[in-house]
Amino acid sequence: MAAIEMKHIIKKYGDGFPAVNDVSIDIADGEFVILVGPSGCGKSTLLRMIVGLEDITDGDMIINGQRVNEKAPRDRNLSMVFQNYALYPHLTVYENIAFPLRLSKTPDADIDKRVREASTLLELDDHLERKPANLSGGQRQRVAMGRAIVRQADAFLFDEPLSNLDAKLRGQMRTEISRLQRRLGITTVYVTHDQTEAMTLGDRVAVMKKGILQQIASPRELYEQPVNLFVAGFIGSPPMNFLPAEVRGDGKLQTPLGPIALTTDLQRQAVQGHDVLLMGVRPEAFEDAKLVDPDKRDKGDVFNAQVDVTEWLGNEQYAYIPFEASAEIRDQLRDLSRELDSDQLRTQLIIAIDSTSRIRAGRTADIWVDTRRMHLFDPKTGVNLTRDEQAGARLTAEVEEERREEMEEARNMPLGEAPDVQGSSSGDGSVGARDGAGSRSSGTQEAGSRRV
């Protein structure tokens, strides 16, 4: 159990390139934090600095109130699941999981008990005597997890652990990791490329770009109140639509789709002193105008547009609407999509419409847009001018609340409902059993490291 504080962490590699630049993140005890960002933005580097595999150029890394910058990985008591698992091929699954315990000179009986608990939890009981080479990808992934959880470390660090699994297994392992983290209540930092993992697993998500932390907030806050163009474009799939918007004198914006009225105070403030803005609207803020209630309809705007393509997916439907933009705006959007690592051609609108909508490709249609959910960005700096800080903070606070409740629930779950956990062999409530195991382990570890 540990809180991790990063204060102005900087990492410069030998060539002077700042892979991580002035990142400050406070991770609370028991929190699940996700690091996302395009390839090469410094996620792995940051994770490896937490665990101690990479020297920190500047700043403070504080774990449990102690500065650990100079501590070796073995003295930090963190466990890590590597991107490629890094299992020991010469050891059986059992010995792989037992490895950290053997190093800390845990008594054999204890090792056996804990390895078996972990293997039951991860459904590896049938494979304990096999070698990693003979396991499937998902099984190897679970062995790597087993090695990480067997030790009762202060925190888990995951570096894209699911990236090489197929979609089905990934979904399965995702829920497994989430359940495990809630149950053990251990601080977790998780690096991923995957939108779904980022949105579903984390209490908070840290979005990075070129070594710089852009925003750290609950998935919901990131989605609804992004701080800038980059975060807005990175979070969400299909991505947010960006349109050029000229500010007109009459409280409206001139867009390629037609004039759109400003509805909220924030929006009206945002346009002050700007001629051209980038308007960002999520696909689901649009709807087929025919299917919108009349009273709801008044809260937004309706425009008429030529639909290029529609995609009907059963439960939802997407329509693509191309629009014209000046060369300057087009360049900017292209740069943005390059930064985001996406290959979207962004001079088209992707909108989500009801699956019952009769809008068809090649025809024009009336589209309603919920203008309250529209964000306005400064085209030069990318700053979100309509971000509602309070609403955002509220969203993140809600998640924090939920997390506490979930952890409470997971801890108090009676044994009968938790078929797999630790406490099963000791018989009493799982909370007590876990605490007992935890303190015992730290005791033996200290003894072990003193002896070494």
């Binding site: 466990s79 890590m80 490629n84 490895f99």
Partner: protein, 276 residues
């Protein structure tokens, strides 16, 4: 179908020819070693009567048995030290960036191309002065210096194949650098370690030049050198057959070693370490 069968037949014929070429001298020595007394002049490939007389002679001669003891002792000790040192050096070469790294590799390579005979005489004089002449240590030291470069090359190639993450994982799991090396890297490099050990052992086991120049008595003389001093059953008989028997005896450990470790050498290196 047809061509592949033809190819197969070709392969088999080729293999037989090569085996015949390689094994004929061995078979001849084997047959010689079983020819008792004057039977070596029987003008035939095989002995007229199979006899163990030569083996009796060989094993009853102090010259051979002490030489055998010297050879076994010196080879094992030198091999062990050489492999341990090579392992540490190769690990540093494979993992660390340090000034003079290329110099070390260059010097190591230079040593392997150095003709052994060129340093035999200087060593002879040096050893006599400092008292290492005709001792086990006096042989072990030059053996080490000539076997280390090769072992370092073989082992550093193996170490380089092992992903960095193996060690990092071990360190995160609570291992010291030494524990990570001993419990993860060495076992993973085991095929390389065996390869290096066997190559070193063979080279030392078969060495003649140092064996003959740096020894003068039974105190340290190894088998290949001792064979040169061999006399037959009587002072006047040519010792050809007993020498053949002795050669067969010294070949046996080599064959046993190869058979025993061949499995280890070909075993896969980092199977299953990473996702697949």
């Amino acid at each position: 179908m047809n061509t592949s069968r033809k190819g197969q037949v070709g392969w088999i014929i080729g293999a037989i020819l090569i085996m015949f070429y390689a094994l004929l001298p061995v078979a001849w020595i084997l047959s010689l070693s079983f020819k008792a007394g004057d039977d070596i002049n029987n003008q035939k490939f095989w002995p007229t009567n199979w006899s163990f007389e030569n083996y009796d002679i060989v094993f009853s001669s102090d010259l051979f048995t002490t030489a055998l003891r010297n050879s076994v002792g010196i080879s094992l000790i030198a091999t062990f030290i050489s492999v341990v040192l090579a392992m540490l050096a190769a690990y540093a070469v494979a993992r660390l960036e340090f000034p003079g790294k290329s110099l070390i590799l260059g010097v190591a390579l230079a040593i392997t191309v150095f003709p052994i005979i060129a340093i035999a005489t200087p060593l002879f004089n040096l050893w006599r002065t400092i008292g290492l002449y005709d001792t086990w240590l006096g042989l072990i030291i030059p053996y080490l210096s000539f076997s280390l470069p090769l072992s370092i090359y073989v082992l550093s190639a193996f170490f380089r194949e092992i992903p960095w993450e193996m060690e990092q994982a071990a360190q995160v799991d609570g291992a010291t650098a030494w524990q990570a090396f001993r419990k993860v890297i060495v076992p993973l490099a085991a095929p390389g370690v065996f390869t290096a050990a066997i190559l070193t052992f063979f080279a030392i086991w078969n060495d003649f030049i140092f064996g003959i120049t740096l020894t003068s008595s039974e105190a340290a003389r190894p088998v290949p050198a001792a064979l040169a001093f061999f006399s037959g059953a009587s002072q006047f008989a040519q010792p050809t057959a007993p020498i053949a028997a002795a050669s067969v005896v010294v070949t046996i450990p080599v064959i046993i070693l190869v058979l025993a470790f061949q499995q280890k050498i070909v075993a896969g290196l980092t199977n299953g370490a990473v996702k697949g």
